[in-house]
């Protein structure tokens, strides 16, 4: 037995481990495309190298097993036998065996007790089998395969000569990260990579975080002292810190492909166990993530994939019966978007039935029937994430013990990510994970409301708008007492941060001269957040909230400001949901085509006039909506009117104005559309507000709005008519 050092051994283990990781994917690639010379060459190389090195290091069991594997692979490569399911199975088993022996070596220093005699004889048997009836077409071998032909294939017991330097160069190909070392240092130009302990990178990251905090403090102190030299130096400090931060983050970025590479095998094995046929498509392998994110999503993704195979994709017979291809498709899509990493796990399986979910949740006592009635379809699907839930009709050993989905959600939220389900019964399900790219240091907008400071991640920020009183009157309307702001042909619901958090009265009660609106984007829409004061933008270090507060949906973390005080970081989606805007309304329904077309055009308020006539009123002609008790109506000169804001408002019933039948006169309140200033002194009484939407040009008298025939009226023309009494 040759002598070797600790270092050589550990290098062997690490590199063999990496090779085996690739082997997984390559074997599966070879199974689906047996003609792939590249996969073949790579696989052969891996097994050959392991065999050679473990022989050199004296691990005879490992050597024997890999020898059998190598034989089989050689026959495959040379076209003497052809790929089959049983060969693929055996090769995958070989990989597992190699892995377990390497693990044994790592743990005990010897390659374990298992002889793998079974596996070896199977490999030998498969290698000696005939090619089958069809004559094998001669396979095209890629250029570098010829290098192997030149190498001596070692007989058992013979020591393999490590490849000479010249040959090593050829073997490398274009992937510098591959190191087919036989356990010795190879002086190759490709060695521009070094291995670094991950904990060292973590420490670097922490230090950079603390540096950013200290830098913020220095910036704040410097801004108080007016010293140009100090300012200049502080600026430099700031620039250097930012660059340092950026570069340290890069050291920790890994392509997600490394993680995703494990899944084809998992899907294959699981599908076989379940008796299903599934293939996995992966897109976006190059998407880079911080290492800690990769670690954190490993388990959630695995669970989602297993779920998709186990519960999502149907049995081949059922799929055929439903007119689907027998082989199911699971897709993983990863991409960057706006400072987040999005990972979508989708399947074209049976989809999730909201009724089944609702029923199950009810029977498990997870939700009451009253609550259930008020849930949207999307919210019902989210019940899947409640601890203790499982829609599997039979608990399989694979997944579905009811401990899965809530843990998935928790894991994702722990890295400040979010997870959503979209599912169509009979068609399939997609889980969307959204995770912030930069875990620790983010640019943020610091605002103040109700006397407290809050940080809003800049990544969610669309625009900052300050409205003076005239602007308020112009751009803001009230629908059912909810303020809505007009911005570039869009209507944004407004929330007041202070009142939302219970810190004070909302701006419209206080009637300020000017308001600051922070326009934010949520997953599915946008809204405006009114704050008392906008302070500035800063880079902040995100610190996690403790267990006492982390479950609050309104905050995604906390930070320490320049003056040492703690400030909360708002979770934009959480705030939106809490305030009842954006997140749910229609998000789970596809946007109807007509609505999309209507986004160019005028914003209108659709109301009911009389019993059932629909009328659209241009929003720009409307100032406010008010409600009055019927008792407040007074009659003067046979004309009904009410007192409104210190003056008199004449009332016109829309039903009369448009000639709509009106049979219900029992209402105790009236809803009045108050036109904007040109039509001062008039109010239009409507029966009910139906919608706020957009329509094409207002030139038409009648249009289809919201799927229904709707009359379009201009307030001016309505009110110009002779007054309608009652």
């Amino acid at each position: 037995m040759a002598e070797f050092s600790e270092e050589e051994l550990s290098e062997f283990l690490v590199e063999s481990g990496e090779s085996l990781d690739r082997l997984d994917e390559e074997l599966l690639a070879l199974e689906t495309d047996p003609e792939s010379g590249e996969s073949m060459a790579s696989i052969f190389r891996t097994v050959h190298t392991i065999k050679g090195t473990c022989g050199f290091l004296g691990f005879s069991r490992l050597e024997r097993v890999s020898h059998e594997g190598e034989n089989l692979l050689a026959k495959l490569r040379d076209g003497e036998i052809s790929m089959s399911r049983s060969i693929a199975d055996a090769l995958l088993e070989l990989e597992d065996a190699l892995r377990s022996m390497l693990a044994a070596i790592a743990a005990t220093g010897s390659d374990g007790d298992d002889d793998f005699a079974d596996l070896r004889s199977r490999l030998a048997q498969l290698a000696s089998a005939e090619a089958g009836d069809e004559p094998q077409a001669s396979r095209k071998l890629p250029p570098n395969a010829f290098v192997f032909a030149a190498e001596p294939v070692a007989e058992e017991g013979e020591e393999v000569q490590p490849p000479k330097e010249g040959e090593e160069e050829v073997l490398r190909g274009s992937r510098p990260s591959q190191r087919d070392s036989g356990g010795r240092q190879r002086p190759v130009a490709v060695d521009t990579l070094i291995r670094v302990d991950v904990s060292l990178l973590d420490r670097l990251m922490n230090l950079v975080g603390e540096l950013v905090l200290a830098r913020n403090q220095v910036l704040q102190l410097a801004s108080i002292k007016e010293d140009s030299q100090l300012s200049a130096t502080t600026q430099r400090l700031s620039l250097i810190t930012s660059e340092l931060q950026e570069n340290v983050m890069k050291t920790r970025m890994q392509p997600i492909g490394n993680l995703l590479g494990k899944f084809p095998r998992i899907v294959r094995d699981l599908a076989n166990t379940c008796g299903k046929r599934v293939h996995l498509e992966i897109e976006g392998r190059d998407t880079e993530l911080d290492r800690t994110i990769v670690e954190a999503i490993r388990d959630p993704l695995t669970h989602l994939i297993r779920n998709a195979v186990d519960h999502g994709v149907e049995m081949p017979a059922d799929r055929a019966a439903a007119g689907k291809p027998e082989e199911g498709r699971i897709g993983i899509l990863a991409y960057h978007e706006g400072g987040y990493v999005n990972i979508e796990v989708s399947d074209d399986g049976a989809g999730i039935d909201p009724k089944a979910v609702a029923a199950k949740a009810l029977s498990l006592g997870l939700v009451s029937s009253e609550d259930l009635a008020s849930l949207s379809e999307r919210e019902v699907l989210e019940l899947l994430f409640v601890p203790g839930f499982s829609t599997a009709t039979s608990v399989t050993s694979v997944s579905g013990r009811g401990v899965g989905m809530d843990v998935v959600k928790t894991n994702v939220e722990q890295i400040r990510g979010s997870i959503d389900i979209v599912s169509t019964k009979g068609q399939g399900t997609t889980f969307k994970l959204r995770i912030p790219l930069t875990l620790a240091i983010i640019p943020a907008l610091v605002v103040e409301s109700g006397g407290e400071r809050f940080a809003i991640p800049q990544v969610s920020l669309l625009e900052l708008v300050r409205l003076e009183s005239s602007g308020i009157a112009e751009s803001i309307n009230f629908v059912d007492r909810t303020p809505v702001m007009r911005r570039r042909d869009q209507l944004l619901p407004l929330l007041d941060l202070g009142s939302l958090l219970g810190l004070g009265e909302s701006w419209h009660s206080r009637g300020p001269e000017a308001i600051n609106v922070v326009i934010l984007r949520t997953e599915s829409s946008a809204f405006g957040l009114v704050v008392d004061r906008v302070i500035d933008t800063q880079e902040i270090v995100v610190k996690p909230l403790g267990s006492q507060v982390s479950q609050l949906p309104h905050y995604s973390g906390a930070t320490i400001m320049g003056d040492g005080c703690v400030a909360l970081i708002l979770d934009v989606n959480g705030i939106a949901r809490y305030g009842g805007v954006g997140a749910d309304a229609g998000a789970d329904q596809p946007v109807p085509r007509e609505a999309v077309d209507e986004f160019e055009g005028e914003a209108v308020l659709v109301v009911r006039a009389g019993d059932g006539e629909r009328v659209a009123l241009p929003l720009r002609e409307i100032d406010r909506l008010e409600t009055f008790p019927v008792a407040a109506i007074e009659v003067a000169e046979s004309e009904p009117m009410v007192q409104y804001r210190g003056s008199i408002m004449r009332l016109f019933w829309l039903s009369r104005l448009v000639g709509a039948a009106s049979t219900d006169s029992s209402a105790e309140e009236i809803q009045v559309v108050v036109p904007s200033s040109e039509l001062a002194g008039c109010g239009i009484v409507i029966e009910e507000i139906l919608d706020i939407t957009h329509t094409g040009s207002l030139g038409d008298r009648i249009a289809v709005i919201g799927g229904r025939v709707t009359r379009i009226e201009s307030l001016a023309s309505l009110v110009g008519q002779p007054a309608g009494g009652w």
């Binding site: 267990s547 006492q548 309104h554 320490i560 040492g564 005080c565």
Partner: protein
């Protein structure tokens, strides 16, 4: 015999204790940033040398209506790897006691205190209540 050291502290008229192993440090009241919409028992967050620590108002936890008459002291404890600040009236001495000397919670102690206390110890200074740290922290997260 199992001798252990206990950190004692005062909460209104109660005398409470915790094994010192749980106690990281004791500090005078720090500035606390309130967390709007959090539970009543959560006083807010404080900055402990760059670490953000939740502060629990023990008076509220024990359902003592009267607020702290003076600035409370912060007892920083470590629970399941996380540092949490317990706001109390005052910090007492560290005492040594036998585990065997602790007696079960007397029936005269009603809820919520009875659920937050593991056992009691008769001392010359009065009845020492051994705080059930898990219960004190846990519940605050749910209520």
């Amino acid at each position: 015999m199992a001798q252990e050291q206990y950190c004692t502290f005062g909460l209104d008229s109660l005398m409470l204790g915790l094994p010192v192993v749980h106690v990281q440090e004791v500090i005078r009241h720090q500035q606390i940033t309130g967390v709007p919409l959090s539970k009543r028992t959560v006083s807010g967050l404080m900055n402990l040398r760059g670490q953000i620590v939740s502060a629990l108002d023990l008076r509220r936890r024990f359902a003592i209506d009267a607020p702290f008459p003076r600035q409370p002291m912060s007892l920083i404890v470590v629970v399941h790897g996380e540092s949490i600040a317990l706001l109390v009236d005052e910090i007492g001495d560290v005492i040594t006691a036998e585990a065997a000397d602790f007696e079960p919670v007397p029936e005269t102690l009603g809820p919520p205190a009875s659920e937050l206390v593991r056992s009691v110890l008769r001392t010359p200074g009065g009845l020492l209540l051994l705080l059930d740290l898990d219960a004190a922290i846990q519940f605050a997260a749910v209520v």
